[in-house]
Amino acid sequence: MADIQPPIGTGPLAKREARLAWGLLFPTITAVALVVVLPLLAIFWISVKPVELADLRAPEVVLREDIRGDFDTAGDEATIRYRLRNSSQDQPITGVTFSDVIPEGLTVLSLDDRCNIEVRALNCDFGDWEPGLRETLTIPILVEQAYLDNGLRPQDSPATTTGTASNILTNSTFTLDNFARIFNGDEFVEVLWVTLFYTVFGTIGALQVGLFAALLLNKSFKGQGILRGLYFFPYVAPVIAVAFAWLILFDPFSGSANALLLQMGVTSEAINFFGERPLALIMVTVFEIWRYFPLSFLFILARMQSIDTDMYEAADMDGASPFQQFWYLSVPQLLGILSVLFLLRFIWTFNKFDDIFLLTGGNAGTRTLTVNVYEQAFAISNIGAGAAVAVVIFGCLLTFSIFFLKYISQEEGL
């Protein structure tokens, strides 16, 4: 009789479960791979390519055709004119050809030697084109009655062109210029410093203000729900709406904040809040704190409400004062959520783009790394340099994430 043994390896049931799980996850994995992983790989590729914004449109043969001359009656002579050019000023196109159909009733009188005509099909071969090359081809024709009757013009049959140009995104030209450019000089140091200031103070500020708000609302009274909803407004409203509201409130010429400060005698002349160093950086940080304190407030409040009240009663009996209770009971209980929030907010603030972009556009000493991506790629039109900044950001995030995962897996038991 064989010994009874526990099953070895995964049984058919477990296998079926795993198969089902992967099946359920498949759509998500595909979508995420397409929109997150692929672009991330693309960023690395682009960052070592000399790509400009204009290169995104591949060079192509641009062709215009028209018919010129007076031809009211049959037997008049006219010309068909083809104007062609290379759309790119710095990329050659090889193997340029075009073909067109001459409308019925037009007889070609003579032909350029690069072209040939069979029945009414016109074919031309121009060989290779230099960057920015222009070419005009005129074909004298004889107009017959059939053409005048038809009313079909040469433009009505669109000419087709061919030609291959090497695409800068896929060819094998590589360069390290992008990295050299962004790491170059004081600018990069300033960008890093601004990012660090914005991230650290934005994160700590939002946590502290959120903690204060949570302490305020951690008791039940009439209207608590309304206040909680109200304090959430900055987070829920569209960023573009509140950013413009801030800009108008702090406008140097007609903003209410300046009018108020002038009237109160705090300042004697209008302050350009979002246009001066270093005030602009402080203002965008304050905006960040204002916009994101609700999130920390919500998480901290949720944690506070789950703390057992018995503990506070016991502390009360023992004569602990309110501040002592807060410091020795609440803070240790909140430390977990505070540190998770700190890490999360740190990364998100680091990633933040819209706020600064809308408030200052990265001017007046507020250019963070993320704004620099946009600045390089679209304002200076150097996509490659933008991608290089993105690679730097990604590197920073990877470092944070390793730290984050180590920590959060203990906190959350993931």
């Binding site: 998500t28 413009f244 009018a259 996509i383």
Partner: protein, 402 residues
């Protein structure tokens, strides 16, 4: 030292008077447009005296009334904690003074409730400080949250000349009637905001449905099914949530430019859900984990397939979580700015946020910009206030252990 009634009372009184005089001066300036300003040193002086009086003579109605009268008289004479300009109307001045006096007398009495002359216990002292901080906190938070929104709404009701004339005046001239809504009318008739509103709405709703279709099965698998790589998967979801949008936006812009998906409704609908799937999946799996597995197992024993279990047992049980995730995803899609800004150039396909961005030019008056902002803000606010409970519960569900 500070824990003595004769010191605590005046100090808190002085600070509280400073807070209230600033608050009332700002509020009066905004509502009347007239000149009101707090007098810092005078506030400290009168506040300290009032605090001392309350500690010495008690906090009865008579004392409160006396302080009220004193504040009103001082303000009207011109040496009070709040100063007024020469042109400020008599009625406004009276009202401001009474508001400050009444508010101060009543609230200070509450703050100094247990403060007695002589030595205070820790409890009495800290209680008073906490009541002061609480009062300050309510004023502070309500002010910082309301003022920007107030400015947004009021600016949208004004016209150009009113705005330049007195930037402080945020009173609404109700006698203008329908004329108040002129900016809104122009946005809808001349700037296509009706179309933008519809575009935003359809894109957001589609995003919600597509996100749920992807996230529900994924979250269920991560929460319930055993497979190797589960922990790694649930971590990588979090990691993906950490990738900044601007880093992805650049290659997406390039790819969309080359494939002609830029400037198309479907391009946006394809890209939005992917940005929301990771967070939706993360929130939902947290909730699914909290559901009792026994009910599902009973269903399996009774012969339901897994799919049927999800459809008939898990989903009905997690309706609150689905509501909160939907609301959150809707909010993200509705408020999204960066991708819409980069990928849409054709005014007929703009979303609301992109439409507002197009109003930001020197040729378009500011009240239009603010009216556009109000149009984008009101629907999401209404939705949020109506479903606030779901939203706050859902946001914290995935990440806070009880």
């Amino acid at each position: 030292m500070i824990r003595r009634g004769y010191i605590t009372g005046p100090v808190l009184g002085a600070l509280w008077m400073l807070v209230l005089s600033i608050t009332v001066a700002v509020a009066m300036s905004f509502t009347t447009g007239d000149a009101f300003r707090p007098g810092a040193w005078l506030s400290v002086l009168w506040g300290a005296i009032a605090g001392g009086v309350m500690v010495r003579f008690g906090r009865g109605r008579a004392i409160q009334a006396g302080i009220l009268m004193a504040v009103v008289v001082l303000v009207l004479v011109g040496i009070g904690p709040m100063l007024t300009g020469v042109e400020t109307g008599r009625a406004a001045r009276m009202f401001g003074a009474a508001l400050l006096g009444a508010g101060f007398a009543m609230s200070l009495a509450a703050i100094l409730n247990e403060v007695v002359p002589g030595k205070l216990t820790r409890h009495e002292f800290e209680g008073a400080v906490i009541r002061f901080l609480t009062g300050f906190g309510y004023i502070f938070f309500t002010a910082i949250v309301l003022i920007p929104f107030y400015v947004m709404v009021m600016t949208s009701f004004k016209n150009q000349s009113e705005l330049i004339q007195n930037p402080l005046d945020f009173s609404v001239d109700l006698s203008k009637g329908v004329e108040l809504f002129r900016s809104y009318d122009e946005l809808f008739t001349q700037f296509n905001f009706g179309t933008y509103l519809l575009n935003s709405f359809f894109i957001s709703v589609l995003t919600v449905f597509i996100t749920l279709a992807f996230a529900i099965p994924g979250a269920y698998a991560v929460a319930r099914l055993r497979f190797s790589g589960r922990a790694a998967f649930s971590r990588s979801i979090l990691l993906i949530y950490m990738v900044p949008m601007i880093v992805l936006a650049l290659p997406i812009y390039i790819a969309f430019s080359m494939t002609g998906l830029r400037n198309s409704f479907w391009g946006i609908v394809m890209i939005y859900p992917v940005t929301t799937i990771p967070v939706a999946l993360y929130m939902l799996q947290g909730y699914f984990r909290g559901l009792p597995a026994e009910i599902e197992e009973a269903g399996l024993m009774d012969g339901l397939s897994r799919m049927a279990v999800i459809w008939k047992i898990t989903l009905p049980l997690s309706l609150p979580a689905l509501a909160s995730v939907s609301l959150y995803v809707f909010m993200i899609a509705w408020n999204e700015f960066l991708l819409a800004f980069m990928l849409l150039d054709d005014p007929s396909k703009f979303t609301l946020t992109r439409g507002i961005a197009s109003l930001n030019s020197s040729e378009i008056p500011r009240q239009h910009l603010m009216a556009g902002s109000v149009i984008a803000t009101v629907p999401i606010m209404a939705l949020f206030l109506g479903l606030e409970r779901f939203m706050t519960k859902g946001l914290t569900a995935g990440s806070v252990k009880g």
